[in-house]
Subunit: 191 residues, 2 copies
DNA sequence: TGACCCCGTTGACATTTGTCAATGGAATTT
DNA sequence: AAATTCCATTGACAAATGTCAACGGGGTCA
Protein backbone atom coordinates (compact mmCIF):
# COMPACT_ATOMS: atom_id res chain seq x y z
CA UNK A 1 0.00 0.00 0.00
CA UNK A 2 2.93 2.38 0.49
CA UNK A 3 5.33 1.26 -2.21
CA UNK A 4 4.85 4.23 -4.50
CA UNK A 5 5.07 6.73 -1.69
CA UNK A 6 8.24 5.27 -0.30
CA UNK A 7 9.73 5.13 -3.76
CA UNK A 8 8.81 8.78 -4.26
CA UNK A 9 10.38 9.84 -0.97
CA UNK A 10 13.56 7.83 -1.34
CA UNK A 11 13.90 9.20 -4.82
CA UNK A 12 14.10 12.74 -3.44
CA UNK A 13 15.68 12.65 0.02
CA UNK A 14 17.68 10.28 2.23
CA UNK A 15 15.24 8.92 4.79
CA UNK A 16 15.74 6.54 7.68
CA UNK A 17 13.53 3.51 8.20
CA UNK A 18 12.14 5.25 11.25
CA UNK A 19 11.13 8.35 9.33
CA UNK A 20 9.46 6.22 6.69
CA UNK A 21 7.49 4.40 9.34
CA UNK A 22 6.37 7.70 10.77
CA UNK A 23 5.19 8.76 7.35
CA UNK A 24 3.27 5.57 6.89
CA UNK A 25 1.62 6.20 10.20
CA UNK A 26 0.49 9.70 9.31
CA UNK A 27 -0.95 9.10 5.86
CA UNK A 28 -4.56 7.94 5.63
CA UNK A 29 -5.20 5.27 2.98
CA UNK A 30 -8.38 5.59 0.98
CA UNK A 31 -9.85 3.65 -1.89
CA UNK A 32 -11.94 5.49 -4.42
CA UNK A 33 -13.90 4.07 -7.30
CA UNK A 34 -13.98 5.24 -10.87
CA UNK A 35 -16.08 8.39 -11.35
CA UNK A 36 -16.13 9.15 -7.63
CA UNK A 37 -15.05 12.59 -6.49
CA UNK A 38 -12.17 13.33 -4.20
CA UNK A 39 -13.06 17.02 -4.26
CA UNK A 40 -16.09 18.88 -5.50
CA UNK A 41 -16.36 22.47 -6.62
CA UNK A 42 -17.45 24.67 -3.73
CA UNK A 43 -15.91 22.50 -1.04
CA UNK A 44 -12.66 23.39 0.65
CA UNK A 45 -9.83 21.10 -0.35
CA UNK A 46 -8.68 19.85 3.02
CA UNK A 47 -6.34 17.07 2.04
CA UNK A 48 -3.39 16.38 -0.18
CA UNK A 49 -3.64 13.17 -2.14
CA UNK A 50 -0.86 10.88 -3.26
CA UNK A 51 -1.80 8.30 -5.89
CA UNK A 52 -0.65 4.79 -4.98
CA UNK A 53 -2.65 3.09 -7.70
CA UNK A 54 -5.03 4.14 -10.43
CA UNK A 55 -5.52 7.65 -11.78
CA UNK A 56 -7.46 10.86 -11.25
CA UNK A 57 -7.89 14.19 -12.91
CA UNK A 58 -8.84 17.68 -11.84
CA UNK A 59 -10.94 20.12 -13.79
CA UNK A 60 -12.85 23.35 -13.47
CA UNK A 61 -16.13 24.23 -15.10
CA UNK A 62 -16.67 27.54 -16.84
CA UNK A 63 -19.77 29.68 -17.20
CA UNK A 64 -20.97 27.75 -20.27
CA UNK A 65 -20.59 24.46 -18.43
CA UNK A 66 -17.61 23.17 -20.35
CA UNK A 67 -14.97 21.46 -18.30
CA UNK A 68 -11.32 22.35 -18.52
CA UNK A 69 -8.96 19.63 -17.41
CA UNK A 70 -6.18 21.04 -15.26
CA UNK A 71 -4.17 17.97 -14.37
CA UNK A 72 -3.97 14.23 -14.66
CA UNK A 73 -2.43 12.16 -11.88
CA UNK A 74 -1.19 8.59 -12.09
CA UNK A 75 0.70 6.30 -9.71
CA UNK A 76 3.36 8.22 -7.83
CA UNK A 77 1.85 11.65 -8.45
CA UNK A 78 0.27 14.13 -6.09
CA UNK A 79 -3.02 15.81 -6.80
CA UNK A 80 -5.07 18.42 -4.95
CA UNK A 81 -6.07 22.06 -5.14
CA UNK A 82 -3.18 23.74 -3.39
CA UNK A 83 -4.83 27.11 -3.56
CA UNK A 84 -7.86 25.93 -1.65
CA UNK A 85 -5.78 23.77 0.67
CA UNK A 86 -3.55 26.61 1.78
CA UNK A 87 -6.08 29.42 1.86
CA UNK A 88 -8.98 27.26 3.07
CA UNK A 89 -11.20 29.00 0.58
CA UNK A 90 -13.73 26.95 -1.41
CA UNK A 91 -12.22 25.29 -4.43
CA UNK A 92 -13.39 25.83 -7.96
CA UNK A 93 -11.95 22.49 -8.99
CA UNK A 94 -13.32 18.99 -9.10
CA UNK A 95 -11.06 16.01 -8.65
CA UNK A 96 -12.46 12.78 -9.99
CA UNK A 97 -11.17 9.24 -10.31
CA UNK A 98 -10.49 8.05 -13.84
CA UNK A 99 -10.08 4.47 -12.63
CA UNK A 100 -10.59 2.65 -9.35
CA UNK A 101 -7.74 4.06 -7.29
CA UNK A 102 -5.86 3.82 -4.02
CA UNK A 103 -4.85 7.06 -2.41
CA UNK A 104 -2.82 8.21 0.57
CA UNK A 105 -4.25 11.35 2.13
CA UNK A 106 -2.88 14.05 4.39
CA UNK A 107 -5.02 16.65 6.08
CA UNK A 108 -3.64 19.94 7.38
CA UNK A 109 -2.89 18.59 10.79
CA UNK A 110 -1.01 15.59 9.48
CA UNK A 111 0.86 17.67 6.95
CA UNK A 112 1.88 20.23 9.55
CA UNK A 113 2.95 17.52 11.92
CA UNK A 114 5.24 15.98 9.35
CA UNK A 115 6.63 19.39 8.38
CA UNK A 116 7.47 20.16 11.99
CA UNK A 117 8.84 16.81 13.03
CA UNK A 118 10.62 15.47 9.99
CA UNK A 119 12.98 18.02 8.45
CA UNK A 120 13.38 15.70 5.47
CA UNK A 121 9.66 16.01 4.85
CA UNK A 122 9.85 19.74 4.29
CA UNK A 123 12.67 19.17 1.85
CA UNK A 124 10.70 16.43 0.12
CA UNK A 125 7.72 18.75 -0.15
CA UNK A 126 9.87 21.48 -1.56
CA UNK A 127 11.32 19.20 -4.21
CA UNK A 128 7.88 17.93 -5.19
CA UNK A 129 6.69 21.49 -5.51
CA UNK A 130 9.73 22.46 -7.56
CA UNK A 131 9.03 19.65 -9.98
CA UNK A 132 5.35 20.45 -10.13
CA UNK A 133 6.17 24.08 -10.81
CA UNK A 134 8.56 23.21 -13.60
CA UNK A 135 6.00 20.83 -15.08
CA UNK A 136 3.37 23.56 -15.10
CA UNK A 137 5.74 25.96 -16.75
CA UNK A 138 6.43 23.39 -19.41
CA UNK A 139 2.76 22.98 -19.89
CA UNK A 140 2.32 26.68 -20.44
CA UNK A 141 5.09 26.67 -23.00
CA UNK A 142 3.24 23.79 -24.65
CA UNK A 143 -0.04 25.66 -24.70
CA UNK A 144 0.79 29.15 -25.84
CA UNK A 145 0.90 29.94 -29.50
CA UNK A 146 0.95 26.37 -30.72
CA UNK A 147 -1.42 24.81 -33.19
CA UNK A 148 -3.73 22.08 -31.99
CA UNK A 149 -1.56 19.51 -33.73
CA UNK A 150 1.62 20.72 -32.07
CA UNK A 151 -0.05 20.63 -28.69
CA UNK A 152 -1.21 17.08 -29.24
CA UNK A 153 2.23 15.95 -30.41
CA UNK A 154 3.78 17.30 -27.25
CA UNK A 155 1.14 15.58 -25.21
CA UNK A 156 1.86 12.30 -26.93
CA UNK A 157 5.52 12.55 -26.05
CA UNK A 158 4.94 13.47 -22.47
CA UNK A 159 2.16 11.05 -21.68
CA UNK A 160 3.06 8.20 -24.01
CA UNK A 161 2.97 5.60 -21.26
CA UNK A 162 -0.48 6.43 -19.96
CA UNK A 163 -2.18 7.40 -23.21
CA UNK A 164 -4.64 4.55 -23.34
CA UNK A 165 -5.82 5.22 -19.82
CA UNK A 166 -7.23 8.65 -20.66
CA UNK A 167 -10.38 9.13 -22.76
CA UNK A 168 -9.88 11.28 -25.78
CA UNK A 169 -12.31 14.02 -24.91
CA UNK A 170 -10.43 14.66 -21.67
CA UNK A 171 -7.19 14.97 -23.59
CA UNK A 172 -8.92 17.48 -25.84
CA UNK A 173 -10.10 19.41 -22.82
CA UNK A 174 -6.60 19.31 -21.33
CA UNK A 175 -5.22 20.75 -24.55
CA UNK A 176 -7.92 23.37 -24.79
CA UNK A 177 -9.39 22.12 -28.05
CA UNK A 178 -12.68 20.43 -28.90
CA UNK A 179 -13.03 16.64 -29.15
CA UNK A 180 -13.94 17.05 -32.82
CA UNK A 181 -10.76 18.93 -33.59
CA UNK A 182 -8.69 16.33 -31.78
CA UNK A 183 -10.37 13.55 -33.69
CA UNK A 184 -9.58 15.26 -37.01
CA UNK A 185 -6.00 15.90 -36.03
CA UNK A 186 -5.49 12.29 -35.11
CA UNK A 187 -6.90 11.22 -38.42
CA UNK A 188 -4.63 13.47 -40.39
CA UNK A 189 -1.57 12.51 -38.33
CA UNK A 190 -1.87 8.85 -39.26
CA UNK A 191 -1.49 9.72 -42.92
CA UNK B 1 18.31 48.23 -1.57
CA UNK B 2 16.72 45.43 0.45
CA UNK B 3 13.32 46.87 1.29
CA UNK B 4 11.29 44.70 -1.06
CA UNK B 5 13.11 41.52 -0.06
CA UNK B 6 12.66 42.12 3.61
CA UNK B 7 9.03 42.96 3.08
CA UNK B 8 8.62 39.74 1.13
CA UNK B 9 10.26 37.65 3.83
CA UNK B 10 8.45 39.23 6.73
CA UNK B 11 5.24 38.79 4.86
CA UNK B 12 5.76 35.03 4.83
CA UNK B 13 7.68 33.99 7.93
CA UNK B 14 8.68 35.43 11.31
CA UNK B 15 12.32 36.40 11.03
CA UNK B 16 14.74 37.84 13.57
CA UNK B 17 16.83 40.90 12.80
CA UNK B 18 19.86 38.64 12.83
CA UNK B 19 18.42 36.32 10.20
CA UNK B 20 17.51 39.25 8.01
CA UNK B 21 21.05 40.58 8.27
CA UNK B 22 22.38 37.20 7.26
CA UNK B 23 20.10 37.24 4.22
CA UNK B 24 21.28 40.69 3.25
CA UNK B 25 24.81 39.44 3.47
CA UNK B 26 24.23 36.47 1.17
CA UNK B 27 22.33 38.13 -1.63
CA UNK B 28 24.32 39.80 -4.40
CA UNK B 29 22.91 43.12 -5.61
CA UNK B 30 23.03 43.77 -9.32
CA UNK B 31 21.79 46.56 -11.52
CA UNK B 32 20.67 45.78 -15.01
CA UNK B 33 19.62 48.16 -17.73
CA UNK B 34 16.60 47.98 -19.97
CA UNK B 35 16.97 45.39 -22.76
CA UNK B 36 19.90 43.69 -21.04
CA UNK B 37 19.75 39.96 -20.47
CA UNK B 38 19.87 38.25 -17.12
CA UNK B 39 19.80 34.86 -18.83
CA UNK B 40 20.24 33.81 -22.42
CA UNK B 41 18.97 30.72 -24.15
CA UNK B 42 21.61 28.01 -24.10
CA UNK B 43 23.26 29.17 -20.88
CA UNK B 44 22.68 27.45 -17.59
CA UNK B 45 20.59 29.50 -15.21
CA UNK B 46 22.85 29.65 -12.19
CA UNK B 47 21.12 32.24 -10.07
CA UNK B 48 17.77 33.08 -8.65
CA UNK B 49 16.74 36.69 -9.05
CA UNK B 50 14.60 38.79 -6.77
CA UNK B 51 13.37 42.07 -8.24
CA UNK B 52 13.95 45.03 -5.93
CA UNK B 53 13.10 47.63 -8.53
CA UNK B 54 12.08 47.65 -12.16
CA UNK B 55 10.76 44.75 -14.16
CA UNK B 56 11.83 41.80 -16.30
CA UNK B 57 10.24 39.12 -18.38
CA UNK B 58 11.17 35.63 -19.49
CA UNK B 59 10.41 34.08 -22.85
CA UNK B 60 11.28 31.18 -25.08
CA UNK B 61 11.68 31.21 -28.81
CA UNK B 62 10.10 28.57 -31.00
CA UNK B 63 11.24 27.05 -34.28
CA UNK B 64 9.71 29.85 -36.34
CA UNK B 65 11.44 32.47 -34.23
CA UNK B 66 8.37 33.79 -32.46
CA UNK B 67 8.82 34.54 -28.81
CA UNK B 68 6.45 33.23 -26.17
CA UNK B 69 6.41 35.22 -22.97
CA UNK B 70 6.40 32.95 -19.96
CA UNK B 71 6.44 35.37 -17.09
CA UNK B 72 6.62 38.98 -16.10
CA UNK B 73 8.29 40.03 -12.86
CA UNK B 74 7.94 43.33 -11.04
CA UNK B 75 9.12 44.63 -7.68
CA UNK B 76 8.89 41.94 -5.04
CA UNK B 77 8.74 39.02 -7.47
CA UNK B 78 11.20 36.26 -8.17
CA UNK B 79 12.25 35.30 -11.66
CA UNK B 80 14.54 32.60 -13.04
CA UNK B 81 14.43 29.32 -14.89
CA UNK B 82 13.99 26.86 -12.06
CA UNK B 83 14.31 23.90 -14.36
CA UNK B 84 17.73 24.95 -15.53
CA UNK B 85 18.77 26.13 -12.08
CA UNK B 86 18.00 22.82 -10.42
CA UNK B 87 19.10 20.44 -13.17
CA UNK B 88 22.01 22.61 -14.35
CA UNK B 89 20.99 21.89 -17.90
CA UNK B 90 21.09 24.71 -20.45
CA UNK B 91 18.01 26.88 -20.37
CA UNK B 92 15.73 27.45 -23.30
CA UNK B 93 14.56 30.72 -21.80
CA UNK B 94 15.72 34.27 -22.06
CA UNK B 95 15.25 36.70 -19.21
CA UNK B 96 15.40 40.32 -20.21
CA UNK B 97 14.93 43.62 -18.43
CA UNK B 98 11.83 45.56 -19.36
CA UNK B 99 13.08 48.61 -17.50
CA UNK B 100 16.29 49.58 -15.73
CA UNK B 101 16.17 47.30 -12.72
CA UNK B 102 17.79 46.42 -9.43
CA UNK B 103 18.08 42.75 -8.59
CA UNK B 104 19.19 40.61 -5.69
CA UNK B 105 20.82 37.41 -6.86
CA UNK B 106 21.51 34.05 -5.26
CA UNK B 107 23.72 31.42 -6.79
CA UNK B 108 23.53 27.74 -5.85
CA UNK B 109 26.08 28.04 -3.11
CA UNK B 110 24.39 31.00 -1.48
CA UNK B 111 20.97 29.42 -1.83
CA UNK B 112 22.14 26.15 -0.30
CA UNK B 113 23.86 27.98 2.51
CA UNK B 114 20.68 29.81 3.43
CA UNK B 115 18.63 26.63 3.16
CA UNK B 116 20.97 24.83 5.53
CA UNK B 117 21.52 27.56 8.05
CA UNK B 118 18.25 29.40 8.27
CA UNK B 119 15.31 27.05 8.73
CA UNK B 120 12.98 29.97 8.07
CA UNK B 121 14.52 30.35 4.67
CA UNK B 122 13.43 26.89 3.57
CA UNK B 123 9.95 27.70 4.75
CA UNK B 124 10.03 31.04 2.96
CA UNK B 125 11.17 29.29 -0.21
CA UNK B 126 8.44 26.75 0.09
CA UNK B 127 5.78 29.41 0.48
CA UNK B 128 7.10 31.36 -2.47
CA UNK B 129 7.01 28.20 -4.55
CA UNK B 130 3.49 27.40 -3.38
CA UNK B 131 2.31 30.79 -4.47
CA UNK B 132 4.14 30.58 -7.75
CA UNK B 133 2.62 27.17 -8.38
CA UNK B 134 -0.87 28.40 -7.66
CA UNK B 135 -0.31 31.41 -9.90
CA UNK B 136 0.79 29.17 -12.76
CA UNK B 137 -2.24 26.97 -12.31
CA UNK B 138 -4.44 30.02 -12.45
CA UNK B 139 -2.69 31.04 -15.58
CA UNK B 140 -3.41 27.71 -17.19
CA UNK B 141 -7.06 28.00 -16.27
CA UNK B 142 -6.96 31.43 -17.87
CA UNK B 143 -5.41 30.11 -21.05
CA UNK B 144 -7.31 26.97 -21.88
CA UNK B 145 -10.46 27.15 -23.87
CA UNK B 146 -10.98 30.87 -23.53
CA UNK B 147 -11.44 33.35 -26.34
CA UNK B 148 -8.78 35.97 -26.88
CA UNK B 149 -11.04 38.57 -25.35
CA UNK B 150 -11.64 36.55 -22.20
CA UNK B 151 -7.93 35.97 -21.80
CA UNK B 152 -7.23 39.66 -22.12
CA UNK B 153 -9.96 40.58 -19.63
CA UNK B 154 -8.43 38.26 -17.08
CA UNK B 155 -5.05 39.74 -17.73
CA UNK B 156 -6.39 43.24 -17.18
CA UNK B 157 -7.78 42.26 -13.81
CA UNK B 158 -4.66 40.53 -12.68
CA UNK B 159 -2.11 43.04 -13.90
CA UNK B 160 -4.11 46.24 -13.63
CA UNK B 161 -1.45 48.01 -11.62
CA UNK B 162 1.44 47.36 -13.98
CA UNK B 163 -0.39 47.51 -17.30
CA UNK B 164 1.30 50.61 -18.63
CA UNK B 165 4.74 49.19 -17.96
CA UNK B 166 4.36 46.33 -20.43
CA UNK B 167 4.35 46.85 -24.20
CA UNK B 168 1.30 45.49 -25.91
CA UNK B 169 2.98 42.98 -28.16
CA UNK B 170 4.48 41.28 -25.11
CA UNK B 171 1.06 41.03 -23.54
CA UNK B 172 -0.18 39.46 -26.77
CA UNK B 173 2.68 36.99 -26.66
CA UNK B 174 1.94 36.22 -23.01
CA UNK B 175 -1.66 35.51 -23.91
CA UNK B 176 -0.72 33.41 -26.91
CA UNK B 177 -2.37 35.66 -29.48
CA UNK B 178 -0.99 37.94 -32.19
CA UNK B 179 -0.47 41.67 -31.62
CA UNK B 180 -3.01 42.36 -34.36
CA UNK B 181 -5.68 40.34 -32.64
CA UNK B 182 -4.99 42.06 -29.34
CA UNK B 183 -5.21 45.44 -31.00
CA UNK B 184 -8.60 44.56 -32.50
CA UNK B 185 -9.92 43.22 -29.23
CA UNK B 186 -8.92 46.36 -27.40
CA UNK B 187 -10.67 48.45 -29.99
CA UNK B 188 -13.90 46.51 -29.74
CA UNK B 189 -13.79 46.45 -25.93
CA UNK B 190 -13.86 50.24 -25.71
CA UNK B 191 -17.20 50.30 -27.48
C1' DT C 1 17.13 68.65 -35.33
C1' DG C 2 16.55 65.11 -38.47
C1' DA C 3 16.67 60.31 -39.64
C1' DC C 4 15.52 56.03 -38.22
C1' DC C 5 13.23 52.37 -36.08
C1' DC C 6 9.91 50.30 -33.23
C1' DC C 7 5.34 49.45 -32.42
C1' DG C 8 0.38 49.82 -32.51
C1' DT C 9 -3.29 50.07 -35.86
C1' DT C 10 -6.03 48.84 -39.85
C1' DG C 11 -7.60 46.28 -44.01
C1' DA C 12 -8.14 42.21 -46.94
C1' DC C 13 -7.89 37.66 -47.09
C1' DA C 14 -6.47 32.72 -45.65
C1' DT C 15 -6.47 29.25 -42.30
C1' DT C 16 -7.64 27.13 -38.24
C1' DT C 17 -10.79 25.83 -35.05
C1' DG C 18 -15.48 25.70 -33.19
C1' DT C 19 -20.46 24.53 -33.57
C1' DC C 20 -24.26 21.76 -34.58
C1' DA C 21 -26.20 17.61 -36.09
C1' DA C 22 -26.13 12.86 -37.24
C1' DT C 23 -24.18 8.16 -37.03
C1' DG C 24 -22.44 3.88 -35.30
C1' DG C 25 -19.89 1.22 -32.16
C1' DA C 26 -18.38 0.05 -27.52
C1' DA C 27 -19.10 -0.15 -22.87
C1' DT C 28 -22.25 -0.21 -18.93
C1' DT C 29 -26.51 -1.15 -16.71
C1' DT C 30 -30.69 -3.56 -15.93
C1' DA D 1 -29.32 -10.38 -23.79
C1' DA D 2 -31.48 -6.08 -24.53
C1' DA D 3 -31.55 -1.38 -23.60
C1' DT D 4 -29.23 2.60 -22.68
C1' DT D 5 -25.70 5.75 -22.38
C1' DC D 6 -21.36 7.49 -23.68
C1' DC D 7 -18.02 8.60 -26.89
C1' DA D 8 -15.30 8.94 -31.16
C1' DT D 9 -16.05 10.12 -35.87
C1' DT D 10 -17.66 12.72 -39.83
C1' DG D 11 -19.80 16.47 -42.60
C1' DA D 12 -21.30 21.16 -43.53
C1' DC D 13 -20.98 25.50 -42.15
C1' DA D 14 -19.81 29.57 -38.99
C1' DA D 15 -16.80 32.17 -36.28
C1' DA D 16 -12.41 33.32 -34.49
C1' DT D 17 -7.83 34.12 -35.22
C1' DG D 18 -3.64 34.37 -38.04
C1' DT D 19 -1.02 36.29 -41.99
C1' DC D 20 0.67 39.73 -44.90
C1' DA D 21 1.09 44.35 -46.17
C1' DA D 22 0.81 49.16 -45.49
C1' DC D 23 0.67 53.31 -42.69
C1' DG D 24 1.87 56.64 -39.29
C1' DG D 25 2.97 58.39 -34.70
C1' DG D 26 6.30 58.57 -31.00
C1' DG D 27 10.46 57.74 -29.13
C1' DT D 28 15.56 57.17 -29.68
C1' DC D 29 19.98 58.01 -31.29
C1' DA D 30 23.46 60.21 -33.86
Amino acid sequence: MFEQLIKSIQDKVPATEEELQLCKHYFTPKKIRKKQFLLQEGDVCNRLAFVEKGSLYSYSTDAKGTQRVIQFAFEGWWISDLYSFFTKEPSNLNIEALEDSELLLLDHEQHDYLLKNIPQYETYTRLILQNAYVALQRRIEGTIGLTAEEKYSRFLNQYSTCLNRVPQHLIASYLGITPETLSRIRKQMTR
